[in-house]
């Protein structure tokens, strides 16, 4: 009986094997046999060296171009925290928030700033990149869809009586609220206010996608049921008294501020020169003054404020750093390729000698 049993199993086994025979042979494909055609990167001396020389040349060239263009930028920066020390002192005490303080800073422009001129405010030591700070905003509120969505805005989500703050959050609350007016003293007589544009200083997507006012007949009713941030003197729908379209969440100064800076020292676009009348070519040389309504306190955290006037080049307002970095990289690359070449040639000679021996 047992023998029978064994022979049966043997037969089934044989059958199975013959059935499996074809399927058990691994496929002869390049992938499965690891024979895929491949390019093997070889660090050949000529390839590397020529690559290095080319890269070095490119970097050097680019560096020089960038340095030259950075040099061509005309830029003037006026730090006014120390100059307006009295105002700074006043702002140190938060209770003085309703007292106005102005400050005028004259300066002389020795050369004409040709072309488009941009006015920036620059803050030193203001940490717009703090984790809690960046979080403290509500994009859905700023989109105008849900004014009551103040989820991430702590500690600036609701006022004491529980009404939601619009715009909520620490970023909005800490908005830069100095006003800077540039005036031109044409003949050392009555200063002319330099015409400045407050439009197109934001990213297109910010203005038209990211920020929207809640829809309603007018802005004040749209923002009904909300309250202004504690630090603000005016509600959000009264930010720009001159241009009713520049109010609410769509206020361009507000949008610029809401785009948080990467580093504690940053400059943000404030105004663009409106190239009309005297200023059709840019800012002519001469005497100017900044008239600043000083509201934004910085001295308490050892910060500083300045106002910057600047022109641009093909690559924007690039600083010297990039040009220098390119030049250095190019130089180092060339140095490396020369030394590599030397080492390689020496070695080759040695090898040749060895072979001759």
């Amino acid at each position: 009986m047992s023998e029978e049993y064994i022979s049966v199993t043997c037969r089934t086994k044989m059958k199975r094997i013959s059935e499996d025979y074809q399927s058990r042979v691994p496929d002869n494909t390049a992938l499965k046999q690891q024979q895929l055609p491949a390019y093997r990167l070889q660090l050949s001396a000529t390839g590397i060296l020529s690559g290095f020389f080319a890269a070095g040349a490119f970097c050097l060239g680019m560096g020089i171009i960038l340095i030259l263009s950075a040099k061509s930028i005309k830029e003037i920066e006026v730090k006014y925290t120390k100059i307006c020390a009295n105002c700074a002192e006043l702002r140190e005490d938060a209770t003085n928030f309703d007292k106005e303080c102005t400050c005028s800073i004259p300066f002389y422009l020795s050369e004409t700033m040709k072309g488009n001129v941009y006015m920036y405010y620059k803050l030193y030591g203001f940490y717009q990149n703090l984790y809690q700070y960046i979080l403290s905003r509500s994009n859905s509120q700023l989109l105008g869809t849900d004014l009551k969505d103040v989820g991430n805005c702590a500690p600036f989500s609701n006022s004491h009586d529980g009404t939601p703050i619009a715009p909520c959050g620490a970023i909005a609350n800490s908005i830069f609220n100095d006003t800077i007016i540039l005036s031109y003293n044409l003949n050392s007589s009555i200063p002319i206010e330099v015409p400045m544009l407050r439009s197109k200083i934001t990213w297109w997507t910010d203005k038209y996608v990211k920020f929207q006012n809640p829809s309603s007949i007018n802005l004040s009713s749209a923002f009904a049921g909300t309250t202004k941030p504690p630090y603000w003197s005016k509600p959000v729908y009264e930010l720009d008294e001159e241009d009713p379209g520049n109010n609410g969440f769509l206020n361009e100064d507000f949008i610029v501020w809401m785009r948080t800076a990467a580093f504690p020292t940053f400059k943000k676009l404030y105004r663009r020169l409106n190239r009309i009348q005297y200023f059709i070519e840019g800012l002519p040389a001469g005497n100017y003054s900044f008239n600043i309504t000083y509201n934004f306190p910085v001295t308490r955290f050892k910060g500083e404020k300045s106002v910057v006037l600047s022109t641009l080049t093909w690559s924007g307002g690039s600083s010297l750093f990039l040009g220098l970095a390119y030049t250095v990289t190019g130089a180092v690359t060339w140095l490396a390729s020369f030394s590599m070449m030397a080492i390689h040639l020496m070695l080759k000679k040695k090898k040749m000698l060895f072979i001759q021996d």
Partner: protein
């Protein structure tokens, strides 16, 4: 296992036959075996517990908990939980399937049926229901279900034959016998059912050749020993039935006790990674502390004022507490230095490599249509680091087939192939084998290529006749006719089988034997020889002889034996022939054949009668009997006439020699661990080129006591050092040298040594105080051969090397006796396609032929190791570069735990953006082709020396990562300082910075690949494309409109990536981070090229010309003669034959026998037992003495 505790308490076992109630008291394990780890209920808790024991998983769980605390959560929880759950589930599913298969195979074994005597009736019962004390009936060719006490069998004297291949790898049959008291029971079911003997015996243990117990039955006691026991795993052969009583069942059986524990195998890279993860965690803590301190200071100096300005509630948190929270936040942010995707990727890469092994056509054995199989998918890179291979012999190195290859008859050599010109040629396919079809009794499988022998026979060469007659007469083979009328030879030594078969094919057919006669059909005529005396083989004599009276009435002594022994006993007239035969023997030995010398002697009646009288007297003696008999044997076996020599091939598996040569070139040491005899093992060592005559010395350790063994080891060591010392520099202070020995010795030893150690000695040598001597000596020898080792000893040897050398080991074997060694080695390889599956089931890799080991290690292993190391280096570099920018950014964001990148980027970076290119590299990269890997085995060495990924390399990766992170961070930082967009607008905002950094990172990271296949191209460019498309999607208006709070980066990509300035930054970052790496690599290849660099270069320069395959010259063995007489031979069969007890009654001895049986027939079993125990386990004194 759960019952292991109970087992250790058992000192003595008492079993009563046929009495389950009585036996239940002791709660012995039943015959069910468990190899599975979980069941349905315990799976989840046990598996989760096991998984979280892995450092990495525990680490990620810890991180996850941290992330759930809102105060310190700086990353959203989904960045960790999703991959963690994924990893845990994947592993759990894998473990579950593995265990399912274990359950299945357990069930299959547990549900095998065997006949059990229950309630006085034979019933089919599943194995798992067999209890201790049950009486089991076994039939021919059945597996034994448990360890049984043999009660009775169908054979005379209740003998039974078993094959123990599963246990010790020996394929020759072994004899067991029942006690005479129980053998009377026969097959009488009623009497068996009434059998109520009580066995008291030793507790379960793993000693295969030892058993001690006492059977109490019918008021008398009988001692039991190993000869009465049949072990689980054996197969009953040549015995139509037998009855046995279960002594040990299930986990208590010696087979299971010998199988060793299943251990969770981890690669050394895994272990290194665990250490590195701890280091990295330490590094993280350091970074966290630095940043936390920074945060405290910042909060104290700046933040306080800044906070009040921002109307943060004052006093809500003080600076120290803030620092504390920051610490944890940074731990979370910086955790990506060891991302969980590392572990997933490693598993994926290993899986890919496993598939390559499964798919490899060059490891597919078409003979049995068996492809190679990677049964474990987690060990691949360890295949590239093997230093020691432990190989079984039978079935692994050899095919266990003996074939008669050549012979030398009267000074003429036969078996070589000659061409028409009479010149020796190599064997080719054209050669036609000798046609044996005229001989109806010929064995079809036998092939012989030299026609001249057949011609000599036809011409009537009397010497050739005598030669073949001897082969047909002088042996211990038993013949049988099967149902088809074919002659079947039962051989207990395959060598003899080969010789008798050869004689059979050349017309000298051994037909049958009785205790007094041997019938041979000589070229068609039946001749009956009277067997007058049988001078049995033993280890000292190394020869056997028969004395027969031929039909003409002449008395002849036929002798075959080891040449060295036999040549001393030749008649002086043989000198010329001796010289000729010696040359032939050397030639045979040179080809690795087992040789045997053949001689005869004519005896005259008178002399023989005298001698025989003396022999009978000697047999009657009580003391010094053996010595006297040995002396008489010596006396008659002299003045022999040399006939010639035979050469038998113990057929090696294909390609064994090449494989071993190549693996040795790769500096892998190969140890042979075999259950076979010392002579066989040494012979195979020579045949495989592992032992050569060029070796300075071959140490043979065969002591029987611990002291002897130690002495021999010391002596061998002294010998080794002595030669070495004298060759280096005369006197050296001994102790100093001894101290320095370990480190220098390997380099200073000149010449090759080999060590051969047998099982008994090994048992002593493995004791704690001798261990060191053994390992020291063994590791200085080029070749180590351990013979007569038990399965557990195999495992112990592996463990020894593992623990003392800290080397990576591989064990390869084919049988159940190799299971424990396969399990305990780092890598276990099973030879598939053999009868038993145990070795394959326990193995990590399996294939059909030993020669595939070469490809598995030198190609797959090397590539796996190379790729895995490259992957790890790259991965660590990538993640250091990716993560450390957060650290630098900390100094510019008030240490507020602000991340540099978008949270989405962090979540996707390792999983989506960079996983595929790095995976493609890890799976497909090749430094040199597979052919080169095989041609230059030296390429294997970096793996053994752990050169490609170690702590040093890790620090280099780390430095590289730190450099890249510096470049990545500070170039954009510098560029963003005081910058403005092309239309004057702000571009230095946080979001643009994040996008710039992320883009540079992806570009810098993606480019580091040196082996570009189509798949690499697709993955790399695909990943870059994916990055940009995901970027633009997430920054699109649509998605922002739906989830404004989740995707605040709307419009950012569009704006930033259209700025020339941003692209200039990205370009500069790329150049600055790639350039130094290229310089470094170029100089490394130029100044310190590795072997693979050189091979690549050579191949490149030879690209046009046809690449030359380096053909290693075929190593020609030149070895001394080693006589291979009866290697697998056991003493004692002569007595069996002459007593006739192993012969069926159907051949009744002729009544008119001239001589009576030589020995006292009642004592032959005792003799046999004594002698076998003497040789098998001389230290165990199991004599069958009636108590």
């Amino acid at each position: 296992m759960f019952c292991s505790k109970k087992k250790s308490l058992e000192v003595e076992r008492t079993v009563k036959a046929n009495d389950r109630e009585y036996n239940e008291k002791f709660q012995y394990a039943d015959n069910r075996i468990h190899t599975s780890k979980y069941n349905v209920l315990t799976f989840l808790p046990i598996n989760l517990f096991e998984q979280f024991q892995r450092v990495a998983n525990a680490y990620f769980l810890f991180l996850l908990i941290l992330q759930l605390i809102p105060e310190i959560s700086s990353l959203t929880w989904f960045t960790t939980i999703v991959p963690l759950v994924l990893v845990i589930t994947m592993t759990a599913v894998k473990d579950a399937t593995d265990d399912y298969f274990r359950h299945k195979s357990d069930n299959q074994v547990n549900n095998r049926l065997s006949e059990v005597l229950i309630n006085s009736k034979l019933q089919n019962e599943k194995w798992m229901n067999v209890k201790v004390g049950d009486i089991v009936k076994l039939e021919n060719n059945q597996f034994v279900a448990a360890d049984l006490l043999l009660l009775s069998s169908s054979e005379p004297h209740s003998l039974c034959y078993i094959e123990t291949a599963e246990l010790d790898g020996e394929t020759n049959l072994k004899v067991r016998h029942a006690l005479s008291v129980t053998s009377e029971l026969g097959a009488d079911i009623n009497r068996l059912a009434k059998f109520d003997g009580i066995v008291v015996c030793e507790a379960p243990n793993n000693k295969l050749d030892k058993f001690m117990g006492v059977l109490s039955w019918k008021d008398s006691k009988h001692s039991l020993n190993n000869e009465n026991i049949i072990l689980r795993g054996c197969i009953l052969r040549n015995t139509s039935w037998c009855f046995g009583m279960v002594i040990f069942a299930g986990p208590d059986t010696k087979l299971i006790q010998n199988s060793g524990k299943t251990k969770f195998k981890r690669t050394s890279i895994d272990r290194l990674l665990n250490t590195l993860v701890l280091w990295i965690f330490g590094f993280l803590v350091c970074l966290g502390i630095i940043l936390a301190i920074g945060n405290s200071i910042w909060e104290n100096q700046v933040g306080d004022q800044f906070r009040t300005f921002l109307f943060w509630k004052e006093g809500e948190k003080n600076s120290v507490f803030s620092g504390f929270l920051t610490f944890w936040s940074y731990i979370i942010i910086l955790n990506t230095v060891v991302p969980i995707s590392l572990y997933v990727s490693m598993e994926v890469i290993r899986l890919g490599h496993s598939y390559f092994i499964n798919w490899d056509r060059r490891m597919y054995y078409s003979g049995k249509s068996i492809p190679a199989e990677a049964r474990t998918t987690t060990l691949n890179e360890e295949l590239g680091q093997i230093e020691y291979i432990f190989s079984d012999k039978t079935g692994t190195l050899t095919q266990n087939i003996m074939t008669f290859k050549k012979c030398s008859i009267n000074g003429k050599i036969y078996g070589e192939v000659h061409d028409d010109m009479g010149q020796k040629t190599h064997m080719t396919k054209k050669n036609e084998p000798v046609d044996f079809s005229v001989n109806p009794q010929a064995d079809r499988t036998f092939q012989f290529f030299d026609h001249r022998l057949m011609e000599s026979i036809k011409l009537g060469d009397s010497k050739a006749y005598e030669f073949l007659r001897l082969l047909a007469l002088c042996h211990t083979v038993m013949s049988e006719e099967n149902s088809a009328g074919q002659l079947i030879y039962q051989v207990q030594s395959p060598d003899e089988g080969a010789l008798v078969t050869a004689a059979r094919n050349f017309g000298f057919i051994f037909k049958s034997r009785t205790p007094e006669t041997i019938t041979v059909e000589e070229l068609g005529t039946l001749m009956t020889y009277q067997l007058l005396a049988f001078l049995d083989f033993n280890n000292i004599r190394k020869r056997m002889s028969v004395i027969v009276r031929n039909p003409e009435g002449q008395i002849k002594l036929y002798c075959k034996g080891a040449d060295t022994i036999l040549f001393e006993k030749l008649h002086p007239s043989n000198e010329d022939l001796l010289n000729l035969t010696t040359d032939h023997l050397s030639e045979f030995a040179g080809e690795g054949l087992r040789t045997l010398a053949i001689a005869y002697r004519d005896l005259d009646d008178k002399y023989f009668k005298e001698w025989h009288k003396m022999l009978e007297d000697a047999n009657a003696l009580m003391d010094e009997r053996d010595e006297r008999i040995a002396g008489l044997y010596e006396e008659i076996e002299r003045d022999l006439m040399l006939l010639g020599a035979t050469a038998v091939e113990d057929k090696l598996q294909e390609g064994v020699i090449e494989t071993i040569t190549n693996l040795s070139l790769a500096d892998i040491k190969i140890w042979v661990l075999t259950g076979d005899k010392q002579e066989t093992a040494i012979n195979i060592g020579y045949a495989c080129n592992m032992l050569t005559d060029d070796m300075k010395d071959v140490f043979i350790i065969s002591g029987n006591t611990a002291v002897e063994v130690r002495e021999e080891l010391r002596k061998a060591k002294e010998n080794l050092f002595g030669q070495n010392r004298s060759s280096s520099n005369g006197h050296v202070v001994f102790e100093k040298q001894q101290l320095e020995l370990d480190s220098v010795v390997e380099e200073t030893i000149t010449g090759d040594y080999a060590l051969v150690i047998n099982g008994h000695s090994l048992a002593h040598a493995l004791e704690s105080d001798v261990k060191n001597d053994l390992i020291e000596l063994a590791c200085m020898c080029k070749t180590v051969v351990c013979c007569r080792v038990t399965p557990l000893q195999k495992a112990q040897v592996v463990e020894l090397v593992k623990n003392y050398r800290h080397a990576v080991t591989l064990a390869i074997g084919d049988g159940a006796n190799d299971v424990s060694m396969i399990k305990s080695a780092h890598i276990g390889v099973g030879i598939s396609g053999q009868e038993g599956l145990q070795a394959v089931l326990a193995s990590d890799y399996s294939f059909a032929q030993f020669r595939y080991l070469q490809r598995l290690l030198l190609v797959h292993g090397r590539w796996s190791y190379f790729r895995m190391c490259k992957f790890l280096r790259y991965f660590f570099y990538k993640n250091f570069a990716f993560t450390l920018v957060h650290f630098w950014f900390g100094f510019f964001c008030g240490f507020s735990a602000q991340t540099v990148y978008d949270q989405w980027f962090i979540a996707l970076f390792n999983i989506v953006y960079t996983s595929l290119p790095v995976l493609a590299m890890g799976i497909f990269d090749q430094d040199v082709s597979d052919q080169s890997s095989m041609d230059y085995p030296q390429l294997y060495e970096p793996g053994q020396l752990n050169l490609l990924f170690n702590k040093h390399k890790f620090f280099i990766c780390m430095a590289h990562g730190i450099y890249t992170s510096l470049v990545l961070f500070f170039i954009p930082y510098g560029a963003f300082y005081n910058v403005a967009g092309e239309d004057g607008q702000l571009i230095a905002d946080y979001q643009s910075f994040a996008v710039t950094m992320a883009t540079s990172l992806v570009i810098v990271i993606a480019l580091d690949t040196s082996y570009w296949t189509v798949i690499n191209h697709v993955f790399i460019w695909g990943s870059v494309a994916t990055y940009f498309s995901v970027l633009f999607t997430m920054h699109s208006n649509g998605i922002f409109g739906i989830f404004p709070n989740q995707f605040p980066f709307v419009g950012n990509a569009r704006h930033s990536l259209t700025q020339k300035c941003i692209w200039l930054v990205i370009l500069l970052t790329t150049v600055a981070s790639v350039m130094p790496v290229v310089v470094f690599r170029f100089l490394k290849v130029d100044l310190f090229p590795t072997l693979s660099d050189q091979i690549r270069q050579r191949q490149k320069s030879q690209k046009k010309a046809r690449p030359l395959r380096s053909q290693r010259p075929q190593t020609r063995r030149s070895s001394s003669r080693r006589s291979g007489y009866a290697f697998a031979h056991q003493e004692g069969y002569g007595e069996l034959i002459t007593s006739g007890r192993n012969m069926r009654a159907k051949n009744p001895p002729p009544a008119s026998g001239l001589e009576k049986t030589l020995y006292n027939s009642t004592s032959w079993i005792e003799n046999l037992c004594k002698k076998t125990t003497d040789t098998v386990s001389s230290f165990s004194q199991d004599k069958t003495v009636k108590l």
